[in-house]
Symmetry: C2
């Protein structure tokens, strides 16, 4: 025998592959991988198309079709989008807009039915999604689950209006997404095991889950837990910001979405090597398993999905799931498991029948250059090449423009906080100094602090103090009643002017921070003229990124949006703003379900107490 | 596009391979590995042929050609054999016999030049290998190194007769094999860095080696240390029985042969997971590396080769390197690294130019069924199929018979220990009880204990005590002077009869243990009749496995040898013997270089003191 074909073990590359071998005069004359002889149609490696299993598309300011155009070249073929933002503006009509707009493009859009519209009763939203809406939405094929259940205190206290929505999802066998930042102990158990009708003792379920979790750690090669959906519990969480928080939720059977978005970056905490070693060294199987198994367990992600949740257009243009998968690998996660977190795992959880290159699966796949770089070269949806070398291969139609916007022109006086108007009758009217509650924000964090400071009263008006970074903050209702909620905030470091946004989670009223009432009114009126947008004003400049679709999106391409957005950020920076993403931070200041202190059009909101509070501290 | 060929990432198998893909109606209709479509000539995987880099073929009782016939079906294509045993019997003539006999068969035999013949001056061997012999041997192509340097105290004390042999190896650039059981600290350094002529401070070399060792641990993917031979040091050790012992030697730059033979099984100690974790947790790179790297480091063997050293025919028939590689994998070693320890690593150390399926390498390879089972299906030497399904495909020639045997018939009196003959003039002649030094043996260990016991004197003759398992042991010189060394041993638990062997490391005189002198003489005479063999005698049975070639080997096939050997073991067991391999244990009782107490034809030998000692304890 002089030549033959066989699988060979290559001890230089530590690999096995079929090769063509020639032996001559006792030695190997040729050893060539068959794949090099048998001409392949592509250089590189085909992997499943990425799936972002929890994203609010609206945070990119792009419509679904524009979003798909942006992410297809990055290898994303599917998202499970929670159209919670547009639902707060336009209700079911808004959700239908997302579905219709997404259907115009070769991309697999899936949606969840938003469970929490409005998020709380302490704000004015543009629409309400009720039980009947939920039932109708969940019956649709492309709606794969109930969207994140944000009112955790409502679930814990078994508020019938929330529980009834969970029961609808359960009856239709669709998974329920959770949202439980910093929840733990009994509250977390009561949240996750929401269905008292089961009459199973929570402790027993808890113990079973711990066992299941231990098994999940041991049985590292098979993320079998991804194939069962338990509609008796909240099935996922994407709000864990520490390893211990995520492990507690995982131990209750929740699948953990490791979030790496713009404001919230949790991946480094959740893939922390020292924490993982600690956890493993407490397992009694150590010493019973081989070193190889130990290594595999250490590189097992433990958690389930990679998601962005909220990502800005300027971050998205740099990378989507492709970037998250690479970061997970850099943090020590096994490459196969990292890719599964963005492909197979979410597909199986939400029954998408994609995420795997295997017979019978939907043919969504991408061509990467190699497994070290994972650069996306081509993207295929339903077997068709739709993007190549950073560009899509089709022409996108313009999105329809719909909105819900009814706002009268604002005046300077609308943003003044009059001391005597605030019913604080116990204090003498001539007091010049007053103690207030205010919001403190941090760069890159959704969580805020509730702090106290003193401010001066001049002629009955409470004054901001720019030198001490105590700025006025307002939320202006934009759907008809035009309430103006007022408060103070620290952390922006704006020195002159105002920045405003009609993207303001979750009700998407207009949120504005400024160094005086004049600038604030001007910024809000600028947005009013376009019926939506991000605006910055100062004595020398006025600039707006128009968002005419529902006041939160635009029909433009990501490149154009990013260009305008970066200009806005530059202007904000030139005005003193020290936050990296001031508009992202601003847009979350009206989100009443993330601790600790927030502002709605109805006033200051203490998230921990879950009630509106007064600006002034009553000593 | 309906069908194409590309490399795919298979997330179910965690593998990458070229596949033929058909997409139809949005879904994958077919995903077939190209290797399944492109008909291969073999099922299974081709891996390099195994290399046992340290073995004494004589311990299998088989001649080289018979040995090759036995191991080719197991996947072994090469050995680096130290013909130290036959050299002690027949000198250079014996070594030439091994080379000639091995050349008759398709198998790559390599040899080392035995450095230590005789092993000590405290025994009578059949031959001597002097400096001139070493020089002539090392100049031959198939002789790839200097055989294990057993007289470590000679090296440590710079005995010129030993150092001169090391210098010859150095001048010819051939690696020097070590043998340093339980050596550590300064003695180990002086042993390893034997060449004072280098004038490099040992401490500096030591520090450099520690660095190199740390690098070796970190740089786990590249066992580059295997490609450099430092002839200034002892390059290998195969005697480490604990992890710490091996690590100390490794830190001095020695390559560690992980030995798993019949009497000595060190693999479990050297691949101990807890020890490896301890070592790693002391490295300051922990926390700086990814979990994936950590896992890879943990599965890195640290040590270099897998060897058997001495393996009995009944063990060899069950498996050779194929079994060692599987055991290493079961103990947590990465499969690629485990296979390298039995292929690429020894090839590169001894410059064999095999051990890898790559252009220009010698085409020795085997076909295994899969990487989980690693069952050997076919063996190829120099590209030719030579064994298949457990059988060789050629007919072996009979080996030549050579010997060195000159022994007169033994009588009962030759084995009596007369008290007054032992010059113990200080003690009263009528003392009935005497304290003696005796050897204690342990199942599966080469190391013996030096213990003390009391025995009775009857009519001037020192009596064995079968009830307390104090048996007489003798070593009978068989080359001419016919000295009889006498002593006592505990651990065999023989209750009636004697067992004897002309395989008796390293001088291969006849070693015999018995319950009385009559049986001992009978067993030795039985061996005398065949000029070599293993014998067992009792009141009812006499049985011998004849070893007429040098008194240590036979021309028979492994199957026939194993059948006879197992019968001998069964008889020994029926006579009360509790050791699993009594003949192996017996054959090492005359090996004066392994601690603690041994017997030669010249008498009891204290290995730690490295001197002959009296049987009787002088209080």
């Amino acid at each position: 025998m002089n030549s033959f074909k066989a699988n060979i073990l290559d001890l230089e590359e530590n690999d096995v592959y079929p090769a063509y071998i020639v032996v001559d005069n006792n030695v190997f004359k040729e050893v060539t991988p068959i794949s090099l002889r048998d001409k392949l149609d592509f250089d590189g490696i085909i992997i499943p198309g990425y799936i972002d299993s929890h994203i609010h598309i609206e945070s990119t300011f792009l419509t679904p079709s524009s979003f798909a155009e942006a992410v297809l070249p990055l290898g994303t073929c599917s998202v499970i989008a929670d159209p919670h933002e547009i639902a707060n503006v336009l209700g079911v009509e808004g959700i239908q807009f997302m579905i219709d707009d997404g259907s115009e493009i070769p991309f697999d859009f899936y949606f969840t039915a938003p469970s929490s519209v409005p998020a709380t009763e302490f704000e004015s939203s543009g629409a309400v999604i009720d039980e009947e809406d939920i039932k109708n939405l969940l019956k649709k094929d492309g709606i794969v689950g109930l969207g994140e259940v944000m009112n955790f205190s409502g679930v814990i206290n078994r508020d019938p209006s929330i529980i009834s929505k969970l029961k609808i999802a359960k009856s239709l066998n669709k998974p329920i997404d959770g949202h439980s930042p910093q929840l733990s102990g009994n509250d977390l158990k009561k949240y996750s095991y929401w269905d008292d009708g089961l009459k199973i003792q929570i402790q027993q379920i808890y113990n079973d889950s711990i066992d299941a979790h231990d098994n999940a750690i041991t049985n590292h090669t098979n993320q079998s837990s991804c194939n069962t959906i338990n509609t008796n519990t909240i099935s996922t969480d994407h709000e864990s910001s520490s390893f211990d928080e995520a492990i507690e939720k995982k131990s209750l059977g929740m699948k953990i979405m490791v979030r790496e978005g713009t404001s919230a970056k949790n991946m480094e905490s959740l893939f922390n090597l020292k924490k993982r070693l600690e956890l493993l060294s407490n397992q009694d199987f150590l010493g019973k398993i081989s070193a190889d198994d130990f290594g595999s367990i250490l590189t097992n992600p433990i958690f389930d999905f990679l998601v962005t949740d909220d990502i800005s257009p300027e971050d998205l243009i740099k990378g989507h799931l492709n970037a998250l998968v690479k970061k997970a690998i850099e943090l020590g996660i096994d490459i196969y498991e990292a890719i599964k977190m963005g492909t197979l795992n979410p597909s199986d959880h939400y029954n998408l029948n994609s995420g795997l290159i295997a017979k019978g699966r939907v043919a969504n796949f991408i061509l990467v250059d190699n497994l070290d770089d994972l650069n996306v070269r081509k993207t295929f949806v339903h077997g068709k090449l739709v993007a190549e070398n950073g560009e899509v291969l089709f022409k996108r139609k313009k999105s329809k423009v719909i909105n819900n916007f009814s706002l009268t022109e604002k005046k300077l006086e609308d943003f003044e906080i009059n001391f005597n108007s605030l019913n604080d009758l116990d204090s003498p009217i001539d007091l010049k100094i007053k103690r207030i509650n205010l919001i403190e924000v941090f760069d890159g964090e959704l969580l805020t602090n509730k702090i106290q400071e003193t401010v001066q009263i001049e002629s009955g008006v409470v004054k901001e103090d720019v030198s001490r970074d105590i700025l006025k903050l307002a939320v202006v209702e934009r759907y008809g009643n035009n309430n103006v909620g007022l408060g103070f905030v620290r952390g922006f470091n704006l020195k002159e002017g105002a920045i405003a946004s009609s993207v303001a989670h979750d009700s998407h009223n207009i949120v504005v921070v400024g160094t005086n009432s004049y600038y604030m009114a001007r910024a809000v009126n600028l947005i009013r003229e376009s019926e939506g947008g991000l605006a910055v004003v100062s004595s020398t400049i006025e600039k707006i990124l128009k968002l005419p679709i529902a006041g939160i999106m635009t029909n433009k391409s990501i490149k154009s949006v990013v260009k305008e957005k970066l200009e806005l950020n530059e202007i904000a920076k030139s005005l003193g703003v020290s936050l990296k993403s001031p508009f992202m931070t601003l847009s979350f200041l009206a989100l009443l379900v993330i601790p600790s202190l927030k502002l709605s059009d109805k006033g200051l909101f203490d998230v921990d107490k879950f009630e509106l509070i007064d600006i002034f501290v009553n000593d």
